[in-house]
Symmetry: none
Subunit: 414 residues, 2 copies
Amino acid sequence: MNVEILITGDEIRSGAVIDKNSAHIAMKLEEAGFNVARHTCVGDNVDDLVLILQEIGSRSDAALVTGGLGPTSDDLTAQAAATSVGVDLVLNLQALHGIESYFKARNRKMSDSNKKQAMLPRGADLILNPVGTAPGFMLKIERCLFFFLPGVPFEMQRMFSDTVLTQLEQLRGSSREFNMVKTISTFGLTESATAERVSGISGMFPEITLGFRPKFPEIQIKLYGRGKDKKTLHQRMVKAAAAVMEEIGDNVFSEDEIPMEAVVGRLLLEKNATLAVAESCTGGLISHLLTNVPGSSGYFLFSGVTYSNEAKQKVLGVSSEVLEHYGAVHEKTAKEMAAGVRRIAESDFGLATSGIAGPDGGTDEKPVGTVCIGLATRRSTIGFRFFFPFNSRWRNKKIFAMKALDILRRELLT
Amino acid sequence: MNVEILITGDEIRSGAVIDKNSAHIAMKLEEAGFNVARHTCVGDNVDDLVLILQEIGSRSDAALVTGGLGPTSDDLTAQAAATSVGVDLVLNLQALHGIESYFKARNRKMSDSNKKQAMLPRGADLILNPVGTAPGFMLKIERCLFFFLPGVPFEMQRMFSDTVLTQLEQLRGSSREFNMVKTISTFGLTESATAERVSGISGMFPEITLGFRPKFPEIQIKLYGRGKDKKTLHQRMVKAAAAVMEEIGDNVFSEDEIPMEAVVGRLLLEKNATLAVAESCTGGLISHLLTNVPGSSGYFLFSGVTYSNEAKQKVLGVSSEVLEHYGAVHEKTAKEMAAGVRRIAESDFGLATSGIAGPDGGTDEKPVGTVCIGLATRRSTIGFRFFFPFNSRWRNKKIFAMKALDILRRELLT
């Protein structure tokens, strides 16, 4: 059964507001096993609205429409719906009563413009709005059953789950299919290398489609499954995911869309270990990521963002010999930073970055994109050097931070 | 001239990802004076793609398409475009050369699947991608000129501004009205208070529309001007902006969409002053923001992300008496942190935060959302306490960091 989504409103059409309603509706529909064929957005213009309603009416089984049910002059959806089927707007007494009760319950005066909201296309069925003034309605236009809902996200969501989903399931009858999605987060391979490694898997699982989504600097592998039997589909999804992870190996860091910093945090908690960080080129980003995770105070003790060489010496105890001889960006410096911050914070692990995020500061020997990472543990202190080819300060900071966290993750897994 | 936007990809169609590309493109098009007629989203399916391309081709003058140009098997846009006009895909040597150079410059091996990205519909014109592997292309389908771009936002945005906009302006010819947009960034007032303060201004400038765009935690005031004469419109925009700034006062921190951290950086440079930061609840976010600004090493010396009380004492020299008596979240503690980090880093300014970002750690006296901020200068050390009613760790970190930077900004303006 094909379902479409239509978002109305000039604020979204013009880009002033990012539409989040269609993603919400699409996800709920797909979870319930409906196929979302298209989303469309048009502005507050009756002719445009009538046209798209008739287009959708001629090609789809059901459609969700949001927006344009408010009390003001640019709320034109009910009029457009009426025009699409050649009827007029009539006062719906039950809708009016609902709006009156809404105002009464809040001790507020109802204005005349709110009365307009109770004018529905003749023949439409009311969808009550328990949390706002704009009632929704159902109306068949050509072969398609339309559900008209307000654009305010929490009103729309409430009416969708209270009413629309049940109606859609009745419409579908017993012919349902189940959809499942699984996300595998990877770091370390390019998108094309990732795709090549798992290219043999699609053929083994015809009910599952593989998708690749770069979410810099990670690559997500998405498994979209569809089938009649929920249990069988679930088993196949588990098998396909295992096959994917087998191919990608330890470049997989999460199976549940958990970010790298939370994976590292969980591993630290499991080992009852603490962490301190010394950041130069990442400038606080590693600390910011780590402390985005609720409960991070349980393992994250301290970070020294030592941008100046003086701070590297004074706070972290990096030796002036190393700084003078090798410079701030060097494996030896990163190692001293990592060992220094581990010592000061009395933590189990010390992680350090020093590099050149750009746009300035690069040399032939150490171009923009060079990063040195130090990792100090109870047993040893190791240094690394990498080069990333992104000519963007923002990207460099991100991938430097991710690489450092990934090095710690791999250490915690040993 | 009617322009449409087509977003392709199962991850957006299914609601797994919120589409932000269409809002970006729509805003840029509207700013440039084009009328955005519709946005549509369809999934990775050749038949669906061909159908919508032909529909748009028959009704619009130009269209932007994003997504499906990657190296993997679910990247089907080029094939669909070719099918729509009845041609085959041919290897575009210039595109191939661009991809090869991209890999060469990064010392990476190009895989065979990347070669697929250079296969464009016969007759299409290449749009070079200076920042990624997926080349774009232009192709006329029926009466409409299509611009096919990758879905990765920063690649799409770069190609849009480098190439597409110029091409669209050529297509439009001389029948233009001028559009101007000005953004005034504010922090400290609610959206409704902001709107009320400037409510009298719209009437004085009929050619200019005011819009309000909350970009948490700032509120942007947008002035959209439209007129036949560029010079007159420009003068009116300047006058309207001055009137807005008069009403909003020192809650305005930028007139050119410069972020708060860059405004602070510029003021520090102007005063030839240096800064050190001590962060507890903001967890490195202030440092991360400051170091996002190229050249920040010129004034930013050090940040101590002292999550544990031990680190506050050991690194910043906060006294155990203050910590025991007042706790980590207190004006006195924030002041000692600010003074301590200023002393250690030998900087002109010391800025410190200590608060409760949540979700845990709140008390009746200091609920989640409480933040204490300390500012140490040559002359004095001041402490502040604020409460923000956001029940979100992410929002709290953001607004705590913004408030601290705003306090420093106001100090630098005196």
